[in-house]
Symmetry: C2
Subunit: 385 residues, 2 copies
């Protein structure tokens, strides 16, 4: 397999994009990524999208999006793994380029979530859970993550305040991100006093409903060194794992086993360990998720994720910066786009192009994206070149 | 890239499977394929499914299906390209094995279409068209293919009877297929007298709504020669192309440009031409589709597809047997599964395992799968080894 690099990235301002349809939302960052890469064509495209069928009654994105991007008739593959669809699109694009099948490949993600009402969005998102054993019985995603939070608090003594610190930190980062949906600071008190969604999770523990897209351009490393207009980052590992879809099949609700296994594969492939990672973008769909994920990635001991957030260890100036982009919490969470936006942030940080939120000279970044309540996870590691 | 072969195939009896949910429908042929291959594990899985979100309110198939197959935590990628989702799953599995990322990979397809009513199915299928310019204005798929048929009749003099001959031939083949949904003979008169759906297409010109799945096992060719329990077939080409999603952007409604381009790529990759193909499984979602596709593949001159069908050239004993399995028309069309079922038939024919419908010693078979009204197409060529 060939070495592969990312040479271009693009994102648009996320939020409630009433004046744009799914195709418009996608094309803008895709064109930005192509321009950033400095290429005049792409050979193939992968698009992550969770449920354009339920959100906007449109499938067949391979045809629609190559068409509207003006890149037809190139091959295009839409992939879905619930909220990990973007990370999966990136992995498949990586395998494609590594295999030699194609040279310049766009990996994108998109979700247009606000064309249905709140109930419709909750219904669509619940299709990431086991419909027959979970969703049909009334379980929603805030409910599932509330169970996870309750278990973590019970087993490890994680506190309500520690959860709040995750939101406070990610919103502080998001203020520095011009594309973020909610770039405003919040305090621990505001999180604790926000409306209760599913005990113990409150509104400010939850990532929002968002319209948005992101795109990145991959090519062989050798080619990247010759053609990259604005710098490149090398993909040194891709880890992918599934897990049981339903909570009733899990041994421990505080563990995200798919992330743990995907990370083990990625660390092995890159020949590094958690201590060799300079920063990470992780899947904070709820505050408790970031705590469980940072433990699953080996950044903190099991049960210590909440304490680490409270102590500032995950802040931009902490020992392990987590979600310098603002994360799903502040930046927004258009589910199919999230995994690609994480790669966007990792590449911008490694190229030194992250603007006001730039970390100090990071050399190696990690992106972790997961579907549902952890039924699938992708972990990618990239290095500055 | 490594040479790749198919070493196992599985399918279940297709139809209205009221007593099975999507996961049950999928697992049965997947286990058959694993057994047929003689392997005790798989390293990764690709699943084609068009719209499990709209049909059964379930996304996140990567987690659900690895879980219920007992193969978690292996990586799994669900892909979607409307009715070409199965062919796309096969292509992605091929690239995966060819790249060296994984050795033994399952490519499957599934669709559970009868859990919604007829209107719900038509709504879900219409998401393969351009929603904003076609479907929202009332266009349905029988309507789109009726436009194609009308244009073909006008331009080339194709007759209503010629369309009927496609259905008659495919049903005659389906009688020999124990897994077919509608294994009964029909006559030209019955087709011409069946209820009008969208002029000039009648009920017996249309493929049915079907629950079903299929699966195949891929591995490197070198490994296949050592481990295949029931024989293998070599994948010699994979061609993939998109086209504009909406009819208003096409130059000629009688041409399926995505199939033509995917075929050109596949012929070039295999170093063969249309005359070197012994038989083909093609996407006869409507009778007119088979006529246009056999022209796009170069089996017949443009405008001669209907005449060829009428003259018996596409029958099992004709010079170019098309759809020996019975095709979508008789076998059924669970959209995400169709592309994999085509590979199933090609492999069974090449291994000499096609039972009563076995062709005489075929050496090279082609499978063509397309999405929507031709917005995406996959063409694969396999050879006996």
């Amino acid at each position: 397999m060939r070495d592969v690099a990312v040479i271009g990235v693009g994102i648009n301002k996320w939020g409630e994009l009433w004046d744009k349809s799914l195709r418009d939302v996608f094309v803008e960052p895709a064109l930005k990524a192509i321009d950033d890469a400095g290429v005049d064509h792409i050979d193939a495209m992968y698009v992550g999208c969770m449920s354009s069928g339920l959100f906007v009654a449109q499938e067949h994105l391979s045809s629609l999006l190559t068409d509207y991007l003006g890149m037809g008739p190139i091959p295009c593959c839409r992939v879905e793994s619930a909220c990990a669809s973007g990370g999966l699109a990136f992995r498949q694009a990586y395998i494609d380029v590594a295999s030699g099948a194609n040279d310049i490949v766009l990996a994108g993600g998109v979700e247009k979530m606000t064309d249905v009402d709140g109930g419709g969005a909750t219904y669509a998102l619940a299709t990431a859970a086991d419909q027959e054993y979970e969703a049909f019985n009334g379980v929603t995603f805030p409910g599932l993550y509330a169970l996870m939070a309750t278990a973590h608090m019970h087993k490890y003594g994680t506190t309500r305040e520690q959860l709040a610190h995750v939101a406070v930190k990610n919103h502080a980062n998001g203020v520095l991100n011009p594309e973020a949906q909610f770039p405003m600071e919040v305090t621990v008190e505001q999180v604790l006093n926000s409306v209760l969604v599913a005990d113990p999770l409150r509104l400010l523990d939850c990532s929002p409903i968002t319209d948005g897209a992101a795109a990145v351009i991959l090519c062989p490393l050798d080619m990247a060194k010759k053609i990259a207009k604005n710098g490149a980052a090398k993909i040194v590992a891709s880890g992918h794992s599934t897990d049981t879809i339903a909570f009733h099949s899990r041994k421990d609700l505080t563990e995200i086993a798919s992330t743990q296994r995907a990370a083990e594969k990625a660390y092995k492939m890159a020949g590094v360990g958690p201590n060799d990672i300079d920063f990470a973008e992780v899947h904070d769909c709820f505050t408790i998720a970031e705590i469980c994920v940072t433990e699953a990635l080996g950044f903190f001991e099991k049960g210590h994720g909440g304490k680490a957030a409270e102590a500032g260890e995950t802040a931009r100036d902490g020992k392990m910066p987590i979600n310098p982009s603002g994360g799903l919490k502040s930046k927004g969470h258009p589910v199919g786009a999230t995994g690609i936006a994480q790669i966007h942030e990792v590449v911008q940080q490694l190229r030194g192009n992250a603007g006001k939120r730039q970390l100090k000279n990071p050399k190696r970044g990690l992106a972790q994206n997961m579907g549902g309540s952890g039924g699938s996870s992708l972990v990618h590691i990239l290095e500055a070149i």
